[in-house]
């Protein structure tokens, strides 16, 4: 699915996040741009430390000191979020852009019943409901995410991991957001439960017509779920393309290495890691940040940082060789 700029529900434009560090400024997100069409499923993948979770938080302007957004902007339905004050942002979070944070099943309040936690979300966004209205809404909401209504009266410890994750999705969609950001929503679940939870997430996202940003490192999950995929490396978005294109003909050598690092069920003995380590953000190599690990690196890669080039159809790549 393409995302021409005028139709975008969410547009991230040249966003930058920096952290103050005793050894100097650390760029966690560096000049990242992409757009989401309404209802689109966009994946954001990369290794730990690539900046993908920081990116998710930056969209919601939830970066805390010593970090700060120091460049670019995010546009929701064409309106820049940087113009909003903290109150405005608070109203917009959950209602317009909802986050399912990493490890969110552990972010549920352990001493409040699930129903109460959803009521809190309603109350916080100024929804005045009678007890009966609220109960009916919560019951319907829980059913949408595949949980029995009784869960409203249960505490988090009474639920399994998969049920807790569904409860988190219920909270995320309770105000019908236009964009859902899910940061590794299933990384703590086993494969069978992961599939069930992702099916639920996909179904509710379609019912709402919301766009979704799925952050994660499992390319198999991305291949089965998203429409377009962005690959992050050392804070930059190094490749964006429709999912079928990126897994069959990846342009960036890092994308190719990520795909090769996945264990296959088709052939044994094909597993290979990516040599070397992800670079430290405060000590990036000159030129292309991937060049020390890249099998194809040339002199140019060691000296000159590749710019992000638009390849048409919403595709882009940052590599001298692509």
């Amino acid at each position: 699915m393409n995302a021409p700029a005028h139709a975008a529900i969410l547009r991230v434009s040249r966003l930058g996040v920096a952290f103050d560090h005793p050894l100097g400024l650390v760029r966690a997100v560096d000049d990242v741009s992409f757009s989401l069409a309404p209802g689109e499923r966009f994946g954001l993948a990369g290794e730990s430390g690539s900046g993908k979770s920081t990116m998710a938080l930056a969209i919601l302007r939830m970066i805390r000191p010593p970090g700060r957004i120091d460049a670019g902007d995010v546009f929701l339905d064409g309106a820049p979020l940087s113009r909003l004050d903290e109150e405005g942002m608070r109203a917009l979070r959950l209602a317009a852009i909802a986050l399912v944070p990493q490890g969110s099943m552990n972010s549920l309040n352990p001493v409040a019943r699930i129903g109460r936690q959803i009521e809190d979300a309603y109350a916080d966004h100024g929804l005045k409901l009678t007890r009966a209205e609220s109960a009916a809404r919560i019951g319907a909401l829980l059913q949408t995410v595949g949980l029995p209504e009784q869960v409203a009266r249960m505490y988090p410890h009474e639920l399994s991991g998969g049920m807790k994750q569904r409860a988190c999705i219920a909270i995320a969609i309770c105000l019908s957001p236009k964009v859902i950001i899910a940061d590794e929503p299933t990384s703590a679940l086993d494969v069978v439960v992961q599939r069930q939870v992702m099916e639920t997430l996909g179904r509710v996202q379609q019912q709402l017509g919301a766009a979704i940003i799925l952050v994660g490192h499992d390319l198999g999950l991305m291949a089965q779920f998203v429409d377009r995929l962005g690959i992050m490396y050392a804070g930059r978005l190094v490749e964006v393309a429709p999912i079928a294109r990126i897994i069959t003909a990846p342009r960036h050598p890092y994308t190719r290495a990520l795909i090769a690092a996945l264990p296959s069920l088709e052939q044994r003995g094909t597993l290979q890691g990516i040599p070397g380590l992800a670079p430290l953000l405060r000590d990036l190599p000159p030129g292309c940040a991937f060049h020390p690990r890249c099998p194809l690196a040339t002199e140019r890669c060691r000296a000159e940082r590749p710019a992000v080039r638009e390849m048409g159809d919403g595709e882009s790549v940052a590599c001298h060789l692509a």
Binding site: S48, V191, V192, R195, L219, A257, A261, P263
Partner: protein
């Protein structure tokens, strides 16, 4: 048989006792053996609560079997004498899931290597022990000069986990029990760590029990596989035929649930999430998978299936294979050879 470590009908039940607390069967009796003459990587695969970690803990002597026996060199590990216990501790090593929690942040990483090297006197003097440590680090693909003298926070999760593998290797054990060794490291590093485990078996003749919920990595590195579901072994044998043609409906479900990097979207199933008990009791009758099984028959809810031996050196516990002969004494050793 030259098995150095053997489970004979070893099972584990938590709870019960005087206060009659609810009993939970964590591991139904299982029989298998590790043979020093044929070292192999055996994967134990299953979801949370399947009993795979309990199996590891019983093997390591960290949990005492509540029934059956764990035998080391023919002796019950619960009753080993001092010297034999020391040999057992050296012969059977563990690598755990969390490469962060196992380190004391105040000590240099050398500490986790020098202490066992000294305690088990792997070499007569410090210089030779140092050389052995360097060798072990190189064997797992680390450069000793980049590792020794550093503090844990200065190293990546992948490096720390490989140090734990090096530590296990240092004592030249006959078996390493690795409980989810790569679930907390990045996909790009997983391959490297698993390759170093593979090398331990191929080059040093060390058997490995690789416990994981990730069937795809199990397929990549293992020779044998043991699939567990709610405290039971449901299917076991050589990895290739089992992944190619899974027999037990649970193994099929596990394999179909792996999201593949492919342009065909074949991931969805429509399997709903049935509420299921996480506690296994003796009162359960029938197959524990019956409530989720698409092929469940009446008998599945009445009778617990026993392990049966199929033609391709595989054991399976399913009523669909009721015409196959029973696995002799329920002992998995022959199918995991």
């Amino acid at each position: 048989m030259s098995a150095f470590l053997e489970l004979r009908g070893a099972g584990k039940v938590y709870g019960g006792g005087l206060m009659e607390r609810a009993r939970n069967i964590a591991l139904e009796p299982v029989s298998l053996a590790f043979d020093a003459s044929r070292p192999a990587i055996t994967a134990v695969v299953g979801e949370s609560g399947s009993g795979k970690t309990t199996l590891a803990r019983v093997l390591l002597g960290l949990a005492r079997a509540s029934q059956g026996q764990v035998l080391y060199q023919g002796q019950d590990v619960a009753q080993l004498k001092r010297a034999a216990r020391r040999d057992f501790r050296r012969d059977v090593q563990a690598v755990f899931q969390d490469p962060y929690g196992v380190y004391n942040p105040f000590y240099r990483v050398d500490h986790v290597l020098t202490v066992p090297a000294r305690n088990f006197a792997i070499a007569p003097n410090a210089a030779q022990r140092g050389e052995r440590i360097a060798q072990a680090l190189r064997a797992v693909g680390l450069r000793p000069e980049e590792i020794l003298g550093r503090y844990p926070h200065q190293l990546s999760g992948g490096q720390r986990q490989r140090i734990m593998v090096a530590r296990a290797l240092l004592l030249r054990p006959r078996l390493i029990v690795a409980d989810e060794p790569v679930s907390m490291v990045d996909a790009s590093l997983r391959a490297t760590i698993l390759a170093s485990l593979r090398r331990l078996t191929d080059e040093f003749g060390i058997a490995i029990l690789y416990i994981t919920h990730d069937l795809a990595t199990a397929y990549q590195v293992s020779d044998n596989i043991l699939v567990m579901y709610r405290a039971n072994v449901v299917e076991a044998g050589a990895v290739e035929p089992i992944v190619r043609a899974p027999r037990h409906p649970y193994t099929r479900l596990l394999i179909s649930a792996i999201p593949r990097v492919s342009t065909t979207r074949d991931w969805s199933t429509g399997e709903t999430a049935p509420p299921r008990a996480m506690v296994n009791t003796h009162a359960d009758t029938g197959c524990r998978f019956a409530d989720r099984c698409p092929a469940a028959m009446d008998i599945c809810r009445r009778e617990t299936p026993t392990l049966r031996l199929l033609a391709d050196r595989r054991a399976v516990a399913c009523h669909l294979d009721a015409d196959a002969p029973p696995l002799p004494e329920g002992n998995l050793a022959p199918v995991l050879a």
